[in-house]
Subunit: 267 residues, 2 copies
Amino acid sequence: MATITGATRVFGILADPIAHVRTPALFNALLEEAGVDGVMVPIHVASNELASLWQGLRAMKSLGGLVVTVPHKSAILDLCDEVGDAARAIGAANVVRRTDDGHMICDMYDGKGFLEGMRAQGRDPAGRSVLLVGAGGAASAIAFALAEAGVESLTIANRTEAKAADLVARLSRHYPDGRFAVGQAVAGGHDIVVNGTALGLRPDDPLPIDLEGAGSDTIVADIIMKPEVTPLLAAARDAGLTTHGGIHMLRAQLRLLAEFVGALPRE
Amino acid sequence: MATITGATRVFGILADPIAHVRTPALFNALLEEAGVDGVMVPIHVASNELASLWQGLRAMKSLGGLVVTVPHKSAILDLCDEVGDAARAIGAANVVRRTDDGHMICDMYDGKGFLEGMRAQGRDPAGRSVLLVGAGGAASAIAFALAEAGVESLTIANRTEAKAADLVARLSRHYPDGRFAVGQAVAGGHDIVVNGTALGLRPDDPLPIDLEGAGSDTIVADIIMKPEVTPLLAAARDAGLTTHGGIHMLRAQLRLLAEFVGALPRE
């Protein structure tokens, strides 16, 4: 990294826990490559202190913006002065730009990032049957991006089924011609299965998806980046299935986020 | 600099304006040299938003602490949960440690930094007659540190004599056995003379101290760092006297600040 001076623009990543996040290293490498005098640092904050933190971030003139991850993606909507269309539809945001006068403007790029990451690996979900597990911020974003991409069908499975039903209802409102359903977290019958939950971050987490019945050409995707090979991906690999790690989503998304916060010029 | 990860400890420097500050580059070099996973970034905040910022910094769990400079050195005293003895006596602080539960503890190291810088060069002021020119924040901090170090006598000279008298009164309250006096900015009769003002920053500034009558073993010290050789130090060198530049104070203080905020283990 280049030397940090008093003129360096600061960016933050908001998370809790935070030790595992990989965005700062990748984001900073992107800025250095572009010759930008900016740096991203971890901002660890608990949910019950997010509003207090927010007041401070508004007052921090050297702050350019934030990348936001679990568990703050939904909570920041109410704290922002402007909310982008994608974030509004999904009910969550993962990036915030701070204007010079302290206004906070957010939007959601998780879905675009996941989709671009799939496409970059030659795994276009258009016309495929997809199972998505989870109905939180990231999962919702991915669901909307998959709907936009024209999947053949999208099944949502979630521990709290009402949340899955709510997501299906929102998807149906935005994409009246789409095929959306609430279902079980079982791979059988789907071309692509996606873990959109945090299960797998901790070593003793249960597998988020039952791989029972998965066809040999099933793609098993995870949004978790650390460990790089989650227990789900390890199990999929053992079963001879194609795996798609969280890093693809992050890499595809990084430039979009850097542009949104003003760290890089828009391409 | 080393790669910043989610586990990297963050430190800030608070200032307004901030573009000129040199501390982040030097502090980060110190941490890198010590192999510490930490980074200092500029936190630019206006005085009227300092209290809002403070609430945010309390909530930021990845924040280890702050170095504080103009114009916030006095204002932070009221915002901290604990104020060190030196800061309390001087009425200003330049460093804040954030405990894991968000408590903010400040202290003042400008004086200790000056003292350690002298000692590191084998110039212990204990038992010596010292002339200090200036009565502002930095000069006050140095005065208290010199009193604590056990100087034989300390003479304060200041353009506005009432401020010198006030500093002498505060010193006398804290060190009833010390010998403190208001005097003239003339070197004669002193073992060590110190410029604690900003005179010398600009090329056309008058010399802060008249070197008339200085004995050949007089030490002439300056707190100004840029230029490295101030007109005062150049004059002292021409007169064959020992000179002591401002960089010694900064270097000695950096380590103390890094220790105070927990970035380096205490030596």
